[in-house]
């Protein structure tokens, strides 16, 4: 491939994986990473976990300076990309200059959703490293923390807060935490892990406003007031599509991309949280806000930029570490899928498989990540394993799979 220039917009997981993929596959042109944050690319999963609880930044940096130097990758921090020029594909940035590009990858990510009336001093959102640092400082022993939102981020922040000695009240607007993601039965099982750790989990409780009076916060909810020293809002994310819109790309619930992470515009690609991707395995569009999705889409996008014929069609996977437990999910279940449980939801390690007919569509596990590895293969291959085997904790699923595949 002759030398040219690729610009990777976003400065996060997508840019980092794409830069590495491009160099690994022999691309020797110019690579410029453009990121708005003052920090070089870092990974976000630890921000609600070990980085929040203990400030452990050992695994945070994605592109060490030595690597970018050795691999001739330019990293521009504190620089906001404004637009991809329709005329020549160059990327216009906020210092008024433009960066020539043969292809552009948008990995602009998503931002934390804000709730109207829930802001001000003592109210935290969590997306950036600096926000994690500020929140950590506020999570002092004895602090009363109200976590708004019972999703996976809510659970992780609650866990880290408990680790730091805070008292946590978790407010969930729906009837069961995590029900949207894993259904009410499994959501309830996960909520028990939180309650067992001392978290006050309150469901059907929607937050209305937060007011500050005399150094303390009062969280007004549909079920009365809750006093707090710290309020953390974790109610989902909104894709950062402004640059794509301003560049004239097709945007609908995210930047529209095909199986190969190509946008509506030639030589412009998108991956990660911002991308609304046509997933061949699902046969429909889906926008996914997971680390693994960002990594895998970025690798596919990078290869597409090089002209390779590759699609991203693997099952979506994510994990959560909270309250000493490791939660993992793979695939996409439908509302009417049946569920086969391996183990006992009330205690210890367990896995729930979701099936349409005899085909596994998804699985969720607590402290049983090895089952998720098998589920991923079952989803991909469509190999049918009898319910009785899936449900039997003594049955070796690896052998079942390798024998049937």
């Amino acid at each position: 491939m002759s030398a040219g220039a690729f610009v990777l917009v976003g400065g996060g997981q997508v840019a980092a994986v794409a830069a590495r993929t491009l160099r690994r596959r022999g691309y020797d042109g110019r690579i410029v990473v453009v990121g708005e944050e003052p920090h070089r690319p870092y990974q976000r999963p630890p921000l609600s976990k070990e980085y929040l609880s203990a400030g452990d930044d050992s695994g945070l940096v994605l592109l060490p300076e030595q690597w970018t130097e050795d691999n001739d990758v330019e990293v521009r921090t504190g620089t906001r990309a404004l637009k991809v020029s329709a005329a020549d594909g160059a990327v216009l940035v906020d210092d008024g200059s433009s960066i020539a590009a043969d292809a552009v990858l948008l990995g602009t990510g998503a931002r934390a959703r804000r709730l109207p009336g829930v802001d001000g001093e003592g109210v935290f959102h969590l997306r950036f490293r600096d926000e994690a640092d500020a929140l950590r400082d506020a999570l002092v022993p004895g602090a009363r923390v109200v976590m708004v939102g019972g999703g996976f981020i809510g659970g992780e922040v609650a866990s880290s807060a408990v680790d730091r000695g805070a008292h946590v009240t978790l407010l969930e607007a729906g009837p069961v935490p995590l029900a949207m993601a894993i259904g009410p039965r499994l959501g309830a099982a996960c909520a028990r892990l939180q309650q067992d750790a001392g978290v006050d989990v309150r469901v059907d409780t929607a937050v209305q406003t937060v007011t500050r009076t005399g150094g303390r916060l009062v969280v007004a909810t549909t079920r009365g007031d809750v006093e707090a020293d710290v309020v953390v809002v974790g109610v989902g994310a909104v894709p950062n599509t402004e640059l794509a819109v301003d560049s004239g790309l097709d945007v609908d619930g995210g930047v529209l991309v095909d199986e190969r992470c190509r946008t509506s515009q030639d030589r412009v690609f998108a991956a990660g949280d911002v991308a609304h991707h046509v997933h061949p395995g699902l046969g429909r569009r889906v926008r996914v806000e997971h680390f693994d999705n960002a990594s895998r889409q970025a690798a596919v996008a990078a290869r597409s930029m090089l002209g390779e014929d590759v699609v991203y069609d693997e099952p979506h996977w994510f994990w959560s570490d909270q309250f000493g437990h490791n939660l993992q999910h793979v695939g996409h279940a439908h509302a009417d899928d049946r569920m086969v449980v391996r183990g006992d939801l009330a205690e210890g390690a367990w896995t729930a498989f979701f099936l349409a007919g005899d085909r596994v569509t998804a699985a969720f596990a607590v402290d049983a990540g090895e089952d998720i590895a098998v589920a991923r293969e079952l989803i991909t291959t469509g190999v049918a394993v009898p319910d009785a085997v899936l449900a039997d904790r003594e049955a070796d699923l690896f052998e079942a799979l390798e024998g049937l595949a």
Binding site: R20, G59, Q328, A373, E377, F398, E402
Partner: protein, 108 residues
């Protein structure tokens, strides 16, 4: 001269497929994969989970914590730039499995 430490019976490992053993404060994961014994550092280089509690799938070791996939022969993690430690393995005629703490990389 390589110092070997007897750590397991082959028959037990064949039955269980994976186990963890400790040699001089080092915990090693043993695997029986496709008719061969492999020894890797038990603590995943990613997030301190135990590889010995992971999956063996199509000849690879998958960490239960975050699905990192390791080649038991080389210790390479698929799609990552990092490598875990592998240890030399010796199996006696009587089925005694021994490992050495001398890293394979150093021996090559």
């Amino acid at each position: 001269m390589t110092e070997w430490h007897a750590v397991a019976r082959l028959r037990d490992l064949q039955a269980r497929k994976r186990t963890a053993v400790t040699v001089e404060d080092t915990t090693i994961a043993l695997f029986w994969i496709n008719g061969k014994v492999y020894a890797l550092a038990d603590t995943c280089i990613h997030e301190q989970r135990q590889l010995s509690k992971g999956a063996i799938l199509f000849g690879k070791v998958i960490c239960p914590g975050h699905q990192w996939k390791f080649d038991p022969e080389t210790g390479e993690a698929e799609g990552q730039d990092r490598c875990t430690t592998t240890y030399p393995v010796h199996v006696d005629d009587d089925g005694t499995v021994s490992v050495s703490l001398e890293r394979e990389a150093a021996a090559r």
